[in-house]
Symmetry: C2
Subunit: 238 residues, 2 copies
């Protein structure tokens, strides 16, 4: 099917998927480029594919002008896909919990690292950046299709898991070196906001406070780096 | 001194410091906000301070409109400072070498991690993003004032250090787990471009190829994360 008008209702709906509000309402999101489309295909979550080049495989063919409208990148990709949001899966043994992470690049980076170090679940608080934000998707390099990410009220969630999981929270002052902590089979690691760390009201759920051994003249690491080093340590320990 | 005109020659020069070309020509760069100014003061590299608020300490007072012109942030800071670029210092034992890193956030993140894990020198190739780019400065959280970062032709540089330093290069295929490599006192770690890794022409300088132990289904980590985990491993080993 060929669409040529910018005011076509489908085009308008696709474009609205750039907002979190409309993604939430429809349960759909938008991805760009062959690498992401390949990863989405593996997961069978593609609803429809849009292209402005006739030689490409697609469900809808549009003009270059429409494609530019839908794209968030400087140089537009050959294809854009509309995907169904991922289904929530049951929790496994290692959970990364993110409290108020604001930088989409950080969230994408943590998704990649979580998969690399066998954390198969990520639970994000209601104030963390949207998983389906296009910058998060790009920074995750398509890895978000292979991990279970769910959004929850973190207090409720921690109340539910606190008897089953060892809960680790970073604290530069009272934390113990992660290397000196014995780790249980079921473990949840909480990473806090880039500037303020983990909220006080969540700290009471900690089984242990941990830290990364480093030169004390440096105040903190980037949140994505800290999360990755800790998950690496827990992976190495298995 | 009070400046009120947007076409004042000083204002024009300050604004030009947003470009790499003019920073290179003048040896100056621009920083925003109290946290960065505090770090720059410790290092005594501030040439002059600009503010639009009379109660602030500054060398030049400007209008809010001029301040907006100079600022790269959404909400402008009370003060902006013009700094002298940092002097090159003699190399110490642990060097991080960056080959064609493009993302300013990644460079800033690596600067923070380098300091945290006692890498006191960073050598960046001629094709890596400018150290004095405002996004790099912000992502480094002011840590760039406390580390020696120099820009070099990497082939020339590696030729010069190859007899004195153990040179480590990441390679997911032929690399050995970093944990299984014995580390010399003087060590240089090369991190490659986000998409393409380390250039072929630099690989011949490797003393050892290394990798990070992880789930093989994941193609790669974010470059800043990979650099940080490797520096952490080398720090932990000391």
């Amino acid at each position: 099917m060929k669409i040529e008008s910018l005011s076509n209702s489908r085009v308008k709906e696709w474009e609205k998927l750039k907002t979190k509000k409309y993604r939430d309402e429809t349960g759909l999101f938008l991805i760009e480029g062959e690498h992401l489309i390949k990863e989405a295909e593996k997961k069978k979550v593609i609803k429809e594919i849009i292209s402005y080049k006739e030689q490409e495989e697609a469900d809808f063919y549009v003009t270059e002008q429409i494609m530019k409208k839908l794209s968030s990148q400087v140089s537009i990709s050959n294809r854009i896909a509309i995907c169904y949001k991922l289904e929530e899966e049951p929790l496994k043994d290692k959970i990364l919990i993110l409290d108020n992470i604001q930088d989409p690049g950080n969230l994408g980076t943590m998704i990649r690292s979580a998969l690399a170090f066998d954390f198969q679940d990520i639970v994000i608080g209601t104030d963390t950046v949207d998983l389906y934000n296009e910058k998060v998707i790009r920074a995750s390099e398509g890895m978000l299709f292979h991990i279970n990410v769910v959004r929850k009220d973190l207090k409720d969630f921690l109340n539910k898991i606190k008897n089953d999981y060892q809960i680790l929270i970073t604290d530069v002052r009272k934390g113990k070196n992660i290397k000196d902590i014995s780790i249980q089979k079921k473990v949840a690691l909480i990473i806090g906001n880039e500037g303020n760390g983990v909220k006080e009201e969540l700290k009471k759920y900690a089984t242990s406070f941990i830290k990364i051994n480093m030169n004390e003249s440096v105040e903190s690491l980037n949140a994505g780096v800290a999360a990755s080093i800790l998950m690496y340590e827990l992976y190495e320990r298995k």
